[in-house]
Symmetry: C2
Subunit: 318 residues, 2 copies
């Protein structure tokens, strides 16, 4: 059932970097190229593009001839939205049979002409922000296999990055592990997943259950966390994901030196110990065996010479 | 802003009881007639209807002549959905200019002919399960005025009933108080509100903020709770509502004698003390002054002769 219900993307990808001038606006495309180069056949850059994902430059015709199955919109300019200057390339790709995949607020079908191009090429328009229909309410039923969920003291502290890095290292050590994506970039990297924060709240835990179905007893699902239990706007998403994931293990992600919530400067971040304790207390409702197995620190704000001391001071806390 | 963004219904209502044969399928209509008789002008019953909300029987023509502004679908038969035998009455009401208001999974606009009838009468089709667009992400900003939220050990334990009863009693005592509706029946009773469990999870706390805006310092919003922090399927809704409501007070609702969660028989209900403590711990994130001011017990499952003893045993716990 879960295979049917998750969003499914077809590789190989042609990564569309459009005409953006700064890496900041191409985070999605760069992330996809970095984490799953084996799914990427090339990059398509328009005139003025100053970003390089390290993939072979390729036009639509060549990519299609080499078997590309999806064009991934890897850019998000200020104000969102699909620019007029991009439409010709998107239409060409759709007519050539490449699915067009985007994670923007703007729906792809609302771009004039694109739906017709997709129909003529037999391609799909896939908005990875749009959850599939018919998600169930969470049942709380215990599933087979093991699960690790990355959680955080705040949004945007490295929960996706940590989940991807943990998955890669588990696989390198020969442990059966699958990255489970809950956000748009994650879904593009994994090729499947569910945009958990776009699900109607009654079905958030149910969506998390669908995302990591029954599996082998020695298999780990490593689930990309969302939001923070402490964030005044996003905690609902986090709790639904925590309950539905039924993790055996959490890894708490934190940005060293960040003092208050993103977008809510009047809310101080929780202490790491408080953060761990709250997740364990709430998460044990659906998995009494839940443990915290680690902390991922993003130390970019800490001067290089102080990072080791910073880490040591935190690890001595318990 | 909040006035614009909440669902707004126009009274007086004509309550449509259709042809249902059992009170169980008319809970919505009976609840509306019970809690806001002053908003109800009459009831419309088709042949075969065996339910009586205690309102004057009235046909559409008479109701329209007396100023009715909305027809409220007060029934929910097994399998949901609007029956063919009802459509003529609904079309007549819409052509007469009455808004058609329903809380079914089926959208009103999907009933053949109804949209045209509404257009010709200048009436609206209002699905109270559909949240308004453009809800914000919760900001956590402290609002003026005071708030009470009903919470529960489970779903369907009396959170709406308790909020309505508390509001009525506060008003009787001369305290400024407003019932704030978060579910379909509550919205029909209040004439406004937001269907909180139908909101996309990223905006659940934000919707709760919109629902109870800044108010007089001595005014109480009494907010209808949803779900339960302990329910494996619905806790996300509850946490978003708790964070966004920023309650000063909670009242915990419980059905005496119920042992496991509705629909999740493998999950025992929390202890009342655990339930209170968890709500306080989580709710104090957005309002550090949060207190539990009472417990509402639904004792229908307890034999009449044992209720007093049951209540006494619980109130002695702390």
């Amino acid at each position: 059932m879960s295979d049917v219900i998750q969003i499914q993307l077809h590789a190989p990808y042609l990564i569309f970097l459009a005409d953006v001038a700064d890496h900041v606006y191409a985070k999605t495309g760069l992330g996809v190229a970095h984490w799953c180069p084996e799914r990427c056949i090339g990059q398509l850059r328009l005139r003025g593009c100053a970003v390089d994902a390290g993939l072979p430059d390729m036009d639509v015709k060549t990519a299609a001839a080499r078997g590309a199955r999806s064009l991934i919109l890897g850019v998000a300019p200020v104000g969102g939205g699909i620019q007029r200057t991009w439409v010709a390339a998107l239409e060409e790709a759709a007519r050539a049979g490449l699915d067009i995949v985007a994670g923007m607020h703007h729906r792809l079908a609302s771009v004039p002409g694109l739906a017709e191009a997709a129909a003529s090429g037999g391609a799909r328009l896939v908005d990875v922000r749009v959850p599939p229909p018919n998600l169930p309410v969470g049942s709380g039923r215990k599933r087979t296999g093991m699960r690790l969920l990355t959680v955080g003291t705040d949004c945007a502290v490295g929960k996706k990055y940590s989940a991807l890095a943990i998955t890669r290292e588990l696989q390198r050590r020969g442990v059966k592990a699958t990255f489970r994506a809950t956000g748009q970039t994650g879904i593009m990297i994994a090729g499947e997943g569910l945009p958990i924060d776009a699900v109607v709240c009654d079905f958030t835990a149910g969506a998390a259950e669908v995302l990591s179905p029954d599996n082998d007893a020695d298999h780990w699902d490593v689930i990309e966390g969302q939001g923070s239990l402490f964030h005044p706007g996003y905690a609902a998403v986090t709790l639904g994901l925590l309950h539905g994931s039924q993790p055996d293990a959490i890894v708490v992600c934190h940005e060293a030196g960040r003092g208050t919530h993103a977008g809510c400067a009047h809310y101080p971040l929780p202490d790491l110990v408080e953060c761990i304790d709250t997740h364990l207390a709430m998460g044990r409702r659906t998995n009494p065996e839940l443990r915290c197995v680690g902390v991922c620190l993003n130390t970019r704000l800490v001067p290089a010479g102080e990072r080791r001391a910073w880490r040591r001071s935190r690890s001595a806390r318990r």
